[in-house]
């Protein structure tokens, strides 16, 4: 896993929870095939490792991909938090909804998931878009038909 292979070396400095997380990562590394493929996606999360993966528990956005991805973590240089990496496991069976979302680019789904983990860790929420075209119904001229509001009055 290249750069993230150092995760064991730094784990001791990361505290108990982060070390557990690192061991989780290492365990997952051992399970992968000997030939290393590209495809690691990485984000830097401006929080310490023990907050990013508390007690080695994957945060919810990643948990949805459990079994389908490898995960690695290490402290970012310069006090910039945690570098969280993930990549699809070869021939993984994508669980649940992920199977419908993955399409032909599992790397993109992994990347989006990492961004969600980051948002959750840094802001406490995963940012949602305003209603997209499929959610908002027809756009109609003013004064024609009942306005497609949600019924609240202001």
């Amino acid at each position: 896993m290249g750069r993230f292979g150092t995760v064991v070396a730094v784990a001791g400095a990361l505290g108990v929870a982060a070390a557990r997380a690192a061991r989780t990562a290492v365990t997952r590394q051992r399970a992968r095939p000997a030939r290393r493929s590209a495809g690691w996606q990485v984000v830097t999360i401006d929080r310490p490792p023990e907050q990013v993966l508390p007690a080695a528990v994957w945060p919810e956005p990643l948990r949805r991909l459990d079994g389908a991805v490898e995960v690695a973590v290490r402290r970012a240089p310069g006090g910039r938090g945690t570098e969280l990496a993930a990549r699809p496991r070869p021939h993984a069976a994508w669980p649940g909804l992920a199977a419908h979302l993955v399409g032909d680019d599992p790397g993109l789904l992994v990347r989006r998931t990492l961004w969600q983990v980051k948002q959750l860790a840094e802001t406490g929420e995963v940012l949602r878009a305003d209603r997209m075209p499929g959610e908002r119904g027809p756009v109609v001229p003013v004064g024609t038909s009942p306005p497609p509001t949600d019924g609240r009055s202001r």
């Binding site: 840094e122 406490g124 878009a129 305003d130 756009v139 024609t144």
Partner: protein, 384 residues
């Protein structure tokens, strides 16, 4: 509610759309008092707006009253009159904590889209295509504001709506041009563009101690405004050798700081070959700024319409030892300071609202803004 929408045929029209709703705990809903046109919207009006869908609401420079508050919002209450930063930033990531909220990692609902375009995710923006975050615009009766504790600011009672409105976008953009251009006391500063952002960049340069400020544009009415309201000297680029005149106005040295604030799409007047290959020219203002700037000076590019350009005069940057930077406004950092200056009358911006329209006539306002820039600096819509 009513809102100015992009329609399927690339036109604009006021339509009935669903009311916005709280989607995250840090959201508020704002009842819009004022919402202004901006040059950044012009590329969306060309009929070539990848990422826009029929019914998408435009507009990003606005103020209004808080009417709903999310569960995690701490700084706002229903009834607050707030000006909202046009860009969306979280306030919690490394970039926000460094004072660079326009570089926010978490300002988009799908950071991978702007990653694909710029190499990294950047802050979101209201009323732009989905790649800019997924947030409906403000040319509407109501708008949802994410990260409201970070991006919405109470307006001092003494500051009127038409003045405070420009604290949303134009004023912080102008301020950034002067501040990040490192304007120092005694500097000669040249600003390309006499629109709202350019004039406010010129004003910011004065406030930061510049001794001479020159504004370049091709619209005499805007240049007149820059002279009357900002006290700048002006150059009408239609009948002047801009570089030569700037050299003359700066004792042969060239301006210490050059701010490009032209706005709108770059690379106009492309040759047939450029159109065929999809290549855009270096925007004239950026090129001029690089040539005109004194040795060791600073060039700051504000125009977000500058996308991918070829034939950049990199040699001038090297041989003259220039610092060339760019940026989108950091309103989350600057708006409180700007509102204070507005309250103290140091920053008067209401004159930039040259035209007012009720929301129902917003499409007409955009047409005026686009087609008659010599008259219309900003069209301002009042939805209520």
């Amino acid at each position: 509610m009513r809102a100015l929408c992009w329609t399927a045929d690339g036109e604009l029209a006021v339509r009935q759309v669903p009311d916005p709703e709280l989607r995250n705990d840090h959201d508020v809903i704002v009842r819009v008092r004022r919402s202004a046109t901006c040059g950044a919207d012009l590329p969306l009006l060309t009929g070539q707006a990848p990422g826009l869908a029929a019914g998408d609401v435009l507009g990003h420079e606005f103020l209004g009253d808080v009417v709903e508050v999310g569960a995690a919002v701490r700084r706002h209450r229903i009834g607050d009159r707030v000006v909202v930063c046009a860009s969306v930033a979280c306030g919690a990531c490394w970039y926000c904590r460094q004072g660079l909220p326009s570089c926010c990692d978490n300002g988009s609902t799908d950071p991978s889209t702007s990653e694909a375009e710029w190499g990294h995710p950047v802050a979101g923006c209201f009323g732009q295509p989905r790649a800019a975050g997924g947030f409906a615009g403000s040319h509407a009766e109501y708008v949802r504001v994410p990260y409201a504790d970070v991006g919405a600011f109470p307006v001092p009672e003494s500051v009127g709506d038409d003045r405070a409105l420009f604290a949303s976008d134009a004023a912080p953009a102008g301020w950034l041009g002067a501040e990040a251009g490192e304007v120092r006391p005694g500097d000669v500063v040249a600003v390309w563009g006499a629109g709202a952002v350019g004039q406010l960049a010129a004003r910011a340069a004065w406030l930061l101690g510049a001794e001479r400020v020159v504004v370049v544009d091709r619209h005499p009415a805007r240049l007149l405004m820059a002279r009357q309201h900002v006290g700048a000297e002006t150059i009408d680029r239609r009948n002047a050798d801009v570089t030569a005149q700037l050299r003359e106005l700066s004792g042969g040295r060239g301006p210490d700081v050059c701010v490009e604030a032209v706005g709108g799409p770059a690379g106009e007047h492309r040759s047939l070959a450029d159109r065929f290959t999809g290549r855009a020219r270096v925007p004239e203002a950026v090129r001029e700024a690089v040539y005109a700037c004194r040795k060791g000076g600073r060039v700051f590019v504000l125009n977000g319409g500058v996308r991918h350009v070829d034939a950049f005069p990199a040699g001038a940057v090297v041989h003259k030892g220039l610092a060339v930077r760019g940026g989108r406004q950091h309103g989350q950092r600057h708006i409180p300071m700007l509102l204070d200056r507005m309250a103290r009358d140091e920053l008067r911006t209401e004159y930039l609202a040259t035209h007012h329209f009720p929301l129902d006539r917003a499409a007409e306002g955009y047409a005026l803004f686009r087609d008659r820039p010599q008259e219309c600096v900003r069209a301002v819509f009042t939805p209520h």
